[in-house]
Symmetry: C2
Subunit: 423 residues, 2 copies
């Protein structure tokens, strides 16, 4: 079992000690450890499910949403998927040692910029127990130690998963301390974790604005916020309306509670009369509440009068629900301006047939991911081929978009010479 008597500082220091040898481990050893973790999760699925049942029982009377309870819950298929996720990471290339660039200087020095692990990565997350294993696997494969701080509602699920992973990893040659679990979900533990300067190299919080605000107040360790997404789809004049229709339906309704779902639909004024009546009809049929500006209402035909009026704050709101704001714009430039003013820099899409419009949108929109003729829902480490993700960054420093194994690395310059000195 994971020792829970350790203080947060103890867990972090043990992780730091482990990180020194972890950074030097060969890929074969790391992959065998991940295989062992996957096998142990499969073999001990009953233990995981029993712990999860205890978590669900212990929180039966708590005031939790149905969506939250669903995120907490494990079943045999979900446990098997966790193990499969680990195997998917085995199949990926080890980022450690990758040469990002290399060149020879005029004086003959050979310079290589080589990817190396950050050291100790901490993740603060809510609900989903699978994050415990996803993050562990990404960290270990990229040569990092991990410190996990899940939420108290699934403490037993997380503890059993971390214990299984630790035991399997130790048996496969991963150093002790490489997987740290912070027991206790209180604000004091978070503050202690967030001030481990020189021990923890990066904290990635996955959670809402409350978590972000709480961390911003106390953190002295570098933090990359896996923040919210106020995402847009813009339908250009001359777009393929069938394509636009399907993209909007997918981006809004396929999973409305996640950060890469769409919150505002913008339509070019020349497209609005032909496109909006059918689009809004389908959305309403799918159960989406529509909040439209005056021009969208006017273009919506028979539906127009029955639409809610969009108010100013709707353009700035991440609904995370079956609600969509709808507006009409005069040009792709106006769409870019609206997106840059109201968006959160997460995922933004244009549907267009025009190369010029696509280029203007791609270049003009300031966001982690800009889509042409595709759903915003693809911004995700797994979808991008990174195996999984620690989170999704909307900040510009270090990592933008999905945080995968490469983003858990830094680099160093290795410079080889034959006695060069500086004149």
């Amino acid at each position: 079992m994971v020792t829970t008597a350790q203080s947060v500082a103890d867990v972090c220091r043990a992780a730091q000690r482990a990180s020194r040898s972890l950074s030097q481990l060969d890929t074969g050893t790391k992959d065998r450890a991940l295989e062992a973790i996957a096998a142990a999760i499969d073999a001990r699925a009953e233990e995981v499910l029993a712990a999860n049942a205890r978590d669900l029982e212990a929180t039966a009377d708590a005031d939790l949403s149905a969506a939250f309870r669903d995120k907490m819950r494990l079943d045999p298929a979900r446990v098997a998927a966790i193990a499969e996720g680990v195997r998917a990471i085995v199949a990926l290339r080890d980022p450690v040692g990758e040469v990002i660039e290399g060149f020879r200087l005029p004086n003959g020095l050979d310079v290589r910029k080589v990817r190396v692990p950050l050291g100790v990565v901490a993740v603060i997350y809510e609900a989903r127990p699978n994050v415990t294993i996803d993050c562990t696997a990404l960290a270990l494969k990229s040569g990092n130690a991990i410190v996990l701080r899940g939420s108290s509602q699934v403490a037993q699920s997380n503890a059993v998963l971390a214990a299984i992973a630790t035991e399997a990893a130790l048996g496969a040659g991963i150093p002790e301390g490489a997987i740290g679990l912070v027991a206790g979900g209180g604000r004091e533990e978070m503050a202690e974790l967030a001030t481990q300067d020189g021990v923890v190299d990066l904290i990635v919080p996955r959670g809402g604005e409350g978590l972000k605000a709480a961390l911003e107040e106390v953190a002295t360790v570098p933090v990359i916020y896996a923040a919210s997404g106020n995402c847009h789809v813009y339908v250009d004049a001359g777009a393929d309306f069938d394509m636009a229709h399907d993209i909007v339906i997918n981006a809004k309704t396929q999973r409305p509670g996640v950060c890469n779902s769409v919150e505002t639909l913008l339509v070019h004024r020349d497209a609005a009369p032909a496109f909006l009546p059918r689009m809004l009809g389908s959305l309403r049929e799918a159960g989406v509440e529509l909040r439209a500006d005056a021009r969208a209402k006017a273009a919506a035909g028979a539906l127009g009068d029955s639409l809610l009026d969009a108010v100013d704050e709707d353009w700035d709101t991440e609904f995370l629900a079956m609600i969509l704001a709808v507006g009409v714009v005069d040009s792709v430039q106006d769409a870019v301006e609206h997106v840059n003013r109201h968006g959160s820099g997460h995922s933004e899409a244009i549907v267009t047939s025009s190369v010029a419009s696509a280029q203007a949108f791609e270049r003009g929109v300031d966001a982690a991911a800009v889509y042409v003729n595709a759903s915003t829902r693809f911004t995700d480490g797994f979808e991008f081929g990174m195996g999984a993700e620690i989170g999704n960054s909307t900040q510009k420093l270090h990592a933008r978009g999905p945080i995968g194994m490469r983003e858990l690395c830094t680099y160093k310059y290795v410079v080889e010479g034959s006695g060069q000195v500086r004149p």
Copy 2:
């Protein structure tokens, strides 16, 4: 002239407005602006020198070191070198739009990770007026707006240089506000600058530990500290002693006051008796004060008794002076451990003939730059072919080592499809 009536917040907001169109400028326009800046500096060198003379006069009675005064001082050759530095940046490739990687997903989506400007970069620096122009040129070419906060001692030099650059840049199509100068060198101005969240994207402070501590206390904007360097040269058993000798002399004496000069010499015990007597003799002859451990003294021959004893804190001190700590170690592993315990992660060198030792040192040492058979003095944006540098990072997030144009960029994912939606 640069308007000095603006508040810090006004300067930053103007820079942010400028950054939006700057990020979209083509390379030709940016290069023409840099050429115009270089030409204007050449043409108006007398004005720059006159302003610098006023700075020197105004601080004639101030308690400033000779080294600081030398850094403040401009002469015709130094002004010409500033203009040449700008032209060197014109010659470099524009980082904006570089595709860092690109791939096609199984569903047919084409994903490109494209370099884009950060937005607004602020630099806090001391003494050297050339930094005003170096940083301006790097920022503009990489599509960023810049906010400059130099030291009060050279306020007039900086103001004239910034005004010349602004006038030339405006004439060449750079938007107004792209070059901001914060007047007033007080702590209040720094605090205001350091809390421009959502306006300033990055602050790079160039200065000592005092500046770092002051900023850490107030900054809410992301900061990359261009920190100090406690650098080592390790001479392995079986190294080429002539090469080692010249590298140590260069790394210690060529410019002892800078962060990539060496502060500790480590020698393998098998190399010490043959290497140290001559090496320490040369260093002493060059005027270097030597602080040796017992084993180094024993191996130093006739010189041994006359050497100072190294005390514990010597291993952790960045002398920035003609002082060197000298120790003997048992193996390359011990050298790596010493470097990782006492070093600041800046620049570390091994001199060796052994491939195994070189590999152990390259992989084991945790630093921005690791050298095999070369002087530590090469860690520098200009030496690395980046034209110049904003500073030198010893932190691991975002940028490590020289901060050049690429490090002033972030990236975005551009994803092109043909109607893909997420199943």
